[in-house]
């Protein structure tokens, strides 16, 4: 580490520039410019299109605070983010453990492929396929009624659970991958050492394996929580009338209502809230990791 720093400072940054520039140029063009435009929009009364009159205003931000609807929706989106993240941990962590510590060779590759598979299919296709499974008279309903001796009606479509199911399905691979990487780096002899000292498998899990895989759990949670809070597609298709969340309201402003300034302002409030949450969590997480 110290050696690398010494070399870097001796040579200066100049030789590294050709390597850094393409990435930073791209980031400037692709992220910084559009985002700056959005920041600009968020302070406008109207879009400056077709010669419409516009002026600077703080009204878009004020709208968030004056109408309790927005903060209520933001809270339910944060709760959704938390729930989906927790379900991803509950489902993804054990799978990552088995992949990293139990399976070896061919079977590991095969199971790994199954985990990655959702990544390779189109997001919309994934969600619509869930719609076919969850609706009344759908695959789940038909299958359960074929097996069970009594008649039940399963109609999860257009409900909160349907939104959770769709989101967990989309995001659980992130948790499996990040946890798999940290779990795989844990030396098996640490687990054996724990057991040789009289710890049961459960005690080894809580005292050795989970603390050592915390970086993966944290990385996975951040990768899931942040996009889920702003998500809208799953809510729209699987949630129906119950699927109004902060993300869908933002989408409405851009797509339906055509009120870009309000949509932009709501987006930046979301960004600020997420950053504050991550900043507050950082010291706790750092200690845990």
């Amino acid at each position: 580490m110290a050696d690398q720093l010494a070399i870097a400072s001796r040579r200066g940054l100049r030789p590294a520039l050709p390597l850094l520039l393409p990435a930073y140029l791209w980031l400037t063009v692709a992220i910084f410019l559009p985002l700056s435009a959005m920041v600009f929009f968020s302070f406008m009364t109207d879009l400056p299109l077709a010669g419409k009159e516009w002026a600077f205003t703080l009204g878009n931000y004020a709208a968030f605070f004056s109408q309790s609807l927005y903060s209520r929706l933001l809270l339910s989106s944060l709760r959704l983010g938390l729930e989906v993240t927790l379900w991803c941990i509950v489902i993804g962590y054990p799978a990552a453990y088995v992949l990293a510590k139990v399976l070896k060779g061919r079977s590991r590759e095969a199971i790994f492929l199954l985990v990655i598979l959702p990544f390779w299919s189109n997001g919309l296709v994934r969600i619509f396929s869930w719609a076919m499974v969850l609706r009344e008279g759908g695959i789940l309903d038909t299958a359960l009624n074929a097996v069970l001796p009594f008649k039940i009606n399963i109609d999860l479509m257009y409900s909160y659970p349907a939104v959770i199911i769709g989101l967990v399905h989309s995001y659980v691979p992130y948790m499996v991958l990040t946890c798999y990487l940290t779990l795989q780096a844990i030396d098996d002899s640490l687990i054996e050492a724990g057991r040789s000292l009289g710890a049961s498998r459960r005690q080894v899990l809580w005292r050795v394996i989970i603390p050592l895989s915390m970086p993966g759990l944290i990385a996975g949670s951040a990768l899931i929580f942040v996009p889920v809070v702003g998500s809208f597609m799953e809510q729209r298709i699987l949630g129906g009338r119950t699927g109004t969340f902060y993300g869908t309201v933002i989408e409405d402003q851009f797509v339906a209502v055509f009120n870009w300034p309000l949509g932009a302002a709501l987006s930046f409030i979301l960004l600020a809230v997420v950053l504050i949450i991550l900043a507050l969590a950082a010291p706790v997480l750092r200690r845990a990791g």
């Binding site: 002899s189 050492a193 724990g194 057991r195 040789s196 000292l197 710890a199 050592l212």
Partner: protein, 354 residues
């Protein structure tokens, strides 16, 4: 504390027989070395005793109690791993405290016991450090303190000194032996280093291809090896092969080698003789007193390696190269190419059944 009995233990992995009918009795309080080349089954045997793996057949008892199907966490053993396996997320003191804390001991007891264990390994002041802030030797000591703080019935060490450099290894050998004597715990030590096995242990078990080749005190195995493998794996040996005569062997060229230790082999069957290089006297033959019953062979020095306190001569004799080690007593050194006479006593010659 307790002794360990391993009786007729076999363990196969697929078609590979890792342990083949191994029986050893580890007496209470002894220091044992399991010695063998890699793949000999020594670590597999240690893992059976620890309980990480169960034997296919056979019995294992700790303190008279059958444990061959008892999982590791219930066997009350202490184990030191080759890579130390310290928990990187915990301080030194928390590492040592782990075994007591999972048992639910009161905090005050844990603190006293941890301090006592750290003092025993002379790391009393480093409890607050993290493992990555320690040197290799210090990590080794922490691993040892962690293994013994729970007062296990038996201490198992899997090549614990393998990762240390030579000088540190010798220090740790002495240290380990001191601690073992102090707490009087039955200790089983896996190593492929014959010197380590010789200097540290009360008894050595030599393994090869999953079988126990020979077991006994280091002096006995060194002085009276029962196989060519034991003779050459533990120390150096010159091996002669021929037909047993009743009091030694006859080499194919008619020379007889007299042996008065080792197995009794019926005359006429195949047998071999082993002689340690330091037991052979080498001279130019001039002014040599009558050998009087000693074994005498003529040869020519092919190579001499000077190592300060001793020299090793390689002597060619009828196509065989013999090794002779001579202490540096200030006597005249023999040149390469010089014809020499080797002689040694039949008492130093071990007869081994072919």
């Amino acid at each position: 504390m307790a002794g360990v009995q391993v009786a007729n233990v076999s363990r196969s992995f697929g078609a590979h027989k890792a342990l083949d009918d191994v029986s050893i009795d580890f007496a209470d309080g002894g220091f044992y070395a399991l010695l063998g080349p890699s793949g000999s089954g020594k670590t597999t045997l240690l893992r059976q005793i620890a309980g990480f793996d169960f034997p296919d057949t056979g019995r294992i008892a700790i303190g008279g109690e059958s444990v061959e199907r008892v999982p590791v966490e219930k066997r009350r053993i202490g184990m030191v791993f080759q890579n130390y396996a310290l928990f990187p997320n915990m301080s030194v003191a928390d590492n040592v405290a782990f075994g007591l804390s999972v048992r639910g001991e009161p905090k005050a007891t844990i603190a006293t016991e941890v301090q006592r264990a750290l003092d025993l390994v002379q790391l009393g002041k480093l409890g607050g450090r993290k493992p990555h802030q320690l040197s290799g030797g210090q990590r080794q000591r922490v691993a040892l303190a962690r293994a013994i703080v729970t007062k296990p019935r038996v201490l198992l060490l899997d090549e614990p000194l393998g990762a240390l450099d030579k000088a540190l290894r010798v220090d740790m050998q002495i240290e380990l032996k001191r601690i073992q004597r102090e707490i009087g715990i039955t200790t089983i030590f896996v190593t492929h280093d014959q010197e380590e096995a010789l200097t540290m242990s009360d008894r050595i078990g030599i393994l090869r291809d999953g079988r126990l080749v020979q077991e006994g005190p280091p002096e006995e195995i060194y002085d009276r090896p029962q196989s060519e493998f034991a003779a050459t794996f533990l120390g150096d040996a010159n091996i002669f092969r021929g037909d047993a005569t009743g009091s030694g062997i006859k080499l194919p060229d008619g020379t007889t080698i007299k042996a008065s230790t080792g197995a009794s082999v019926p005359a006429g069957t195949k047998a071999s003789c082993a002689v340690r290089p330091e037991r052979i006297q080498i001279s130019t033959g001039a002014g040599m007193p009558d050998a009087g019953g000693a074994n005498v062979l003529k040869g020519k020095v092919s190579k001499r390696i000077f190592a300060g306190n001793n020299s090793t001569y390689f002597v060619d004799r009828d196509g065989q190269t013999l090794k002779v080690i001579v202490q540096n007593t200030g006597a005249e050194r023999l040149a390469e190419g010089q014809p020499v006479v080797l002689n040694w006593s039949p008492d130093s010659t071990v007869l081994i059944a072919g």
